[in-house]
């Protein structure tokens, strides 16, 4: 690696100093600012968030707040979050996979793919509050679609204004889950080799038997992994729910908001920390499973 003619090895990651006798220590100093930054704004807040659930206001260790996670009210919010996330993850995964399938065979640099990729990025990652507003304008009490249906004699709010409650979150959540599925699942689907389809045809198989015997088994780990990612995404999402449900705390992130903005919830201090702890356990387990399965899925890619 120290020879300038070794450019063919350039990509290989060999641990050799670029210059003979270059001192190691000054280079390591270059890592310090970024390490300090991560420590201060990633590690410290995470630790503080988790630790604050374990201590009371006077700084003594307590399991009181953790015990509060067993409170029926809190358990209900966790259950609400879980089924909302599971439902929108499954719908998002199935519909998103269909979109990926429809995009298969389109040129990656074509206008359709470019537009779909960009739109998926906007809706999946930067929508938040704005998606909530779009849905209020559409199916809110004064929404365009609501009024249209009302003109046709259909009152979608006959049983109450559900848009500002838990069921109202389903459509906006699906709206950002489908694009996230398109972004994360497309690489797996693109990695299916046309040669496999050709081999299947040569051996007398049909298009149906290709998907049954080859396509679905090869893709199922990636599909499962992406569904888990969607679950974690919905579970940790805050902005859309906060903009839609200005009061109430039907899901865990909104419960954290309530705990942060009011002095005591359920007569306990530092409940936000305990909720954050519960949340990171759920998201951590799901993301751990995700990376395990993703590793298995990656075998067929590349």
């Amino acid at each position: 690696m120290t020879s300038p003619t070794s450019h063919t090895l350039g990509g290989a990651e060999l641990d050799a100093p670029l210059r003979r006798g270059a001192p190691r220590i000054p280079a390591a100093i270059g890592l310090v600012p970024f390490a300090a930054y991560l420590l201060l704004f990633l590690a410290l807040p995470t630790v503080l968030a988790l630790a604050s659930g374990l201590f009371d206001k006077s700084g003594t260790f307590t399991l009181d707040n953790i015990a509060a996670l067993g409170d029926p009210v809190i358990l209900t919010t966790f259950a609400n979050s879980a089924w909302l996330s599971a439902l929108t993850a499954i719908i998002g995964a199935v519909v998103g996979a269909l979109v990926c399938y429809a995009l298969l065979g389109m040129r990656e640099t074509g206008a359709v793919r470019t537009a779909v990729d960009a739109a998926a990025g906007v809706f999946a990652q930067f929508g938040g509050v704005m998606l909530a507003f779009a849905f209020i304008a559409t199916i809110g009490l004064q929404g365009v679609v609501t009024q249209l249906l009302l003109g046709a004699g259909i009152d979608i709010f006959a049983s109450g204004p559900w848009i500002y409650e838990l069921p109202g979150l389903i459509l906006p959540y699906v709206f950002f889950q489908i694009p996230l599925m398109v972004i994360t699942f497309m690489p797996a689907l693109s990695a299916l080799k046309p040669q496999w389809a050709e081999a299947n045809l040569t051996l007398g198989g049909t298009s149906a038997s290709f998907w049954m015997r080859i396509g679905v088994p090869v893709l199922s780990p990636a599909f499962l992994a992406c569904t888990l990612l969607l679950f974690a995404n919905a579970f940790s999402s805050y902005a859309t729910a906060a903009a839609l449900a200005s009061q109430g705390s039907q899901i865990v992130p909104l419960q954290i908001r309530t705990a942060l903005t009011s002095e005591t919830v359920l007569g306990r201090e530092n409940l936000a920390g305990a909720l954050a702890l519960g949340m990171i356990v759920v998201v951590g387990v799901v993301m751990g499973l995700y990376s395990l399965i993703q590793r298995r899925a990656a075998r067929w890619q590349g």
């Binding site: 300038p4 450019h7 350039g10 990509g11 641990d15 670029l18 280079a27 270059g30 600012p33 970024f34 930054y37 201060l40 704004f41 990633l42 410290l44 807040p45 995470t46 630790v47 503080l48 968030a49 604050s52 429809a102 298969l104 065979g105 990729d117 960009a118 739109a119 990025g121 906007v122 809706f123 990652q125 930067f126 938040g128 509050v129 704005m130 507003f133 779009a134 304008a137 559409t138 004064q142 929404g143 365009v144 679609v145 699906v174 709206f175 489908i178 046309p194 389809a197 396509g215 579970f235 940790s236 902005a239 903009a243 954290i256 908001r257 942060l260 954050a276 949340m279 990171i280 993301m287």
Partner: protein, 264 residues
């Protein structure tokens, strides 16, 4: 032709059905902004320039200004802190790369709502030392954009052999500063550009941290204005989504330039 590709009819059916799900809310929002009593007009769009309404929209302009400052500082963190560290890790500490990658991708798994619980006491201290200016939020935003920015820059680093380039520059007598600024950075331009634009998009769309730390940014201002004038909020929503869409199209095209270079 890809044999796996669905038939034209299948493609069309999926495209129309799913497309409708995404087009209807956007179209409805647009029609909503055109509402004027019982008819339709551009009155809510024209109101943006109306001096009488200016005070009602003031929070938006303040928030947008703060968000733009935050975007600049966050991009600076990406370009002058993250990127140099990535180059350093790639050139001198390749063995640290898996650990480094794990760390910078970690914010994906830590919900912003969890982070904000721990950021609250930190920002109380920062408020005491640096004041409560909106720009200080950029430190937190730098963390939330890490995974996006890392992926964009790493794609460029993997596509260009910066090791050989830096060896060549060094053997021609360039110092490390010149190597990074005049040799490596220009070669990583597509990745650095994509990382910067995606950071801008993330910062303009961020709500969770700003709202719970009581800072005025674009998204929190939208919520404030929504309470007095829902039409204005819808107008700004459409404009902001369109802006983010254009940003991502530019990122997509920038990525293509890199592919072109790698092939030539």
């Amino acid at each position: 032709m890809n044999r796996l590709a669905p038939s034209r009819a299948t493609r069309l059916v999926i495209g129309i059905l799913v497309g409708a799900f995404f087009v209807i809310p956007m179209l409805s929002t647009f029609l909503y902004t055109l509402r004027d009593g019982d008819g339709f007009s551009l009155v809510h769009w024209a109101a943006l320039a109306d001096p009488e309404k200016a005070s009602a929209y003031a929070p938006i302009w303040v928030g947008l200004g703060n968000s733009l400052v935050l975007a600049v500082v966050t991009v600076a963190i990406v370009l002058f802190l993250l990127a140099p560290t990535m180059i350093l890790v790639h050139l001198r500490f390749p063995r640290l790369r898996p650990g480094f990658e794990f760390l910078v991708l970690l914010p994906i798994s830590i919900p912003a709502i969890v982070l904000v619980v721990g950021l609250a006491p930190i920002y109380r201290e920062i408020g005491r030392m640096l004041g409560t200016g909106a720009w200080t939020l950029a430190f937190a935003y730098g963390i939330t954009v890490l995974p996006f920015a890392y992926r964009a820059i790493q794609a460029s680093i993997d596509a260009v052999d910066i090791r050989t380039l830096s060896e060549a520059a060094r053997s021609l007598g360039a110092g490390w500063g010149a190597v990074v600024v005049r040799v490596i950075a220009p070669n990583l331009r597509p990745g650095l550009l994509a990382a910067s634009l995606i950071s801008v998009a993330v910062v303009l769309g961020e709500f969770t941290i700003a709202s719970l730390l009581n800072r005025q940014v674009f998204q929190t201002a939208l919520v404030v204005v929504k309470n007095t004038d829902g039409y204005a909020a819808a107008v700004f929503t459409l404009l902001a989504l369109a802006f983010a869409f254009v940003l991502l199209i530019v990122i997509g095209l920038a990525g293509r330039i890199r592919v072109g270079k790698a092939e030539s």
